[in-house]
Symmetry: C2
Subunit: 340 residues, 2 copies
Amino acid sequence: MTTPTHQHSTILEVAREAGASKTSVSRFFSGERERLSPNLQTSIAAAAQRLDYHPNRMASGLKGGRSRIIGMLVADIRNPFSVAVMHGVEQACRERGLSLMVCNTDNNSALEREHLALLTSYRVEGLVMNAVGSLDRELQALVEQGTPLVLLERELSQVEAEVVGLDNARALDLALDHLQGRGYGELLYLSEPPGLASPRQARLTRFQQGVAARAMAGEVHCQPLDETDSLNRAIGNFLARPGTLPKALLCANGNATLAATRALHALDARLGETGLLGIDELDWCELVGPGITTLAQPTEAIGRAAVECLMRRRDIGNYTMPARRVHFQANLIPRGSTCR
Amino acid sequence: MTTPTHQHSTILEVAREAGASKTSVSRFFSGERERLSPNLQTSIAAAAQRLDYHPNRMASGLKGGRSRIIGMLVADIRNPFSVAVMHGVEQACRERGLSLMVCNTDNNSALEREHLALLTSYRVEGLVMNAVGSLDRELQALVEQGTPLVLLERELSQVEAEVVGLDNARALDLALDHLQGRGYGELLYLSEPPGLASPRQARLTRFQQGVAARAMAGEVHCQPLDETDSLNRAIGNFLARPGTLPKALLCANGNATLAATRALHALDARLGETGLLGIDELDWCELVGPGITTLAQPTEAIGRAAVECLMRRRDIGNYTMPARRVHFQANLIPRGSTCR
DNA sequence: TCTACTTATGGAACCGTTCCCATCGTAGGC
DNA sequence: GCCTACGATGGGAACGGTTCCATAAGTAGA
């Protein structure tokens, strides 16, 4: 019916068609257009048009060593926060003529390793990751090979790389001040187990310090969020316990906020009476009950900053520059869930 | 400090190190391992280990013409439905040793064209897309070159490709039956403008047919959802209009559900009293008010099916097979928003 | 023992680019 | 008018693999 396989045309064919050399065609398509005489330029353009020629990125990636691909390793693609950051990364990439190859690790350390190897095998020109496990060794190797690396949030002790993320200490201070200001005095902090993820760690310790500093009562529940029984019980106990001061939940991220909201829903607790404050802004936070107070992260900016770091590293050269940290400030959005 | 650029090792280096030929090393790494003698196998494995060798996918993609990359064009990456499907696609790819390159077109037709060219230039072995604009010509060219193509939902008249998606007609019947069963008699259908997107079109027309067939009153509001004024006014008018039967909103997708919920929130309408049913299940639907009734799509399955189609096409050969449709059934999740 | 056939291995061409270097005019300086 | 320099262009060797084909060794059949 249709022509079975009308292969792609190559640079050589364009060259012949235009009566020019491979070299000139190559120059035309890789930004050295001005070096060519106007005549040549038009005839190459015409030939390429006629043959519907598009450079083969695989080939140019091979010879030039520049794949024009940025890799991104995401711990959980279904987390809206990750997607939002990814969106920023993608835009920044596009503006620079880079493509993005995203791998989702589903919070699985083995998968993460596998995907890292994969991205490496495509010779990505830079890597943005929010890591799950401890890939220190592999990442160190990557960096030594000259691939710029940016870590989202989670810091890794050993590896020389930029870290882009929230200023967790100030974010938690903001949250605690807000809760205290609204009269809540006993807090339950909900988080997934910190494990190796440094922002979870950072937020948790700042919570504990902050609570102490403000003379508030603070408890912590760090269990996997899919264990709903355990979570419900913890929250139930917390609320049932006799206490003199109003109680509030503080959620370490969007997933925790979702889990907490479900639990409170199941327990029939009234939002506001029981305070609720979540880190990460989500579409639906304004819609549940009187609205859920959140700390919004500048996700787009975080994504863009990651790519910027990557490019700076690539241009300056890896080894001369010390690792840096770029911290963003969270933005408090007060709603009814912290209003008694 | 660290060694500036300790380059990747190549197949040739491994060959030398192992005392073998390039050919043998290549065989070792591309699934022809058994053809090699046990001795050779072990020495190659050892050498590769010592040199930390990983095949360069750019290079192998070049000669063999098999990039091992599947491309995916997503209209809106921030739509949870898209992400869920993408998750299915990704898993299916991984199981087959393929990588996924995702491009987000932000519902922008120009961007879509650009990204399509990009994916083509990487010689993707297959393409999954839910398209925005009319790229018929480009896609036709792609298919003729032998690249398998699967369209998510949106059908394109001209192009010979599989279409994977929801059985929209039955989904709408399900929704209408449910609403009628619950006693709602006047409906307002909310959707983004159908434009070229065939599922929007399909849902809309089935709504109109279905309403007529059931002797219900049906209105339609098809405007961009970010025009909140227009939306709020439409909903407000609909609710204010004197009528004898209970009224309900039917939302064509997740974004519409979000917009509608916001609008009802702003208008202070009580869910249930005013019915609300949305296509696409979202995390938060159970949490808002008495819960929002939804039609859930089997997103994961849709994603996997897309990749299956792709592979079948690739294996059988493109041109022999007629285009097919794979339709999935929606699953109704009844909640309080359709309970008076 | 010789031929026929299989199995293990290597040599070399090729995939579509990029990029170094050579070539060829032609213009400017003396 | 000759030499130098520079701008425009092309030739051809990489890049790191895959794959066709040849070769060597071993094995079975007669």
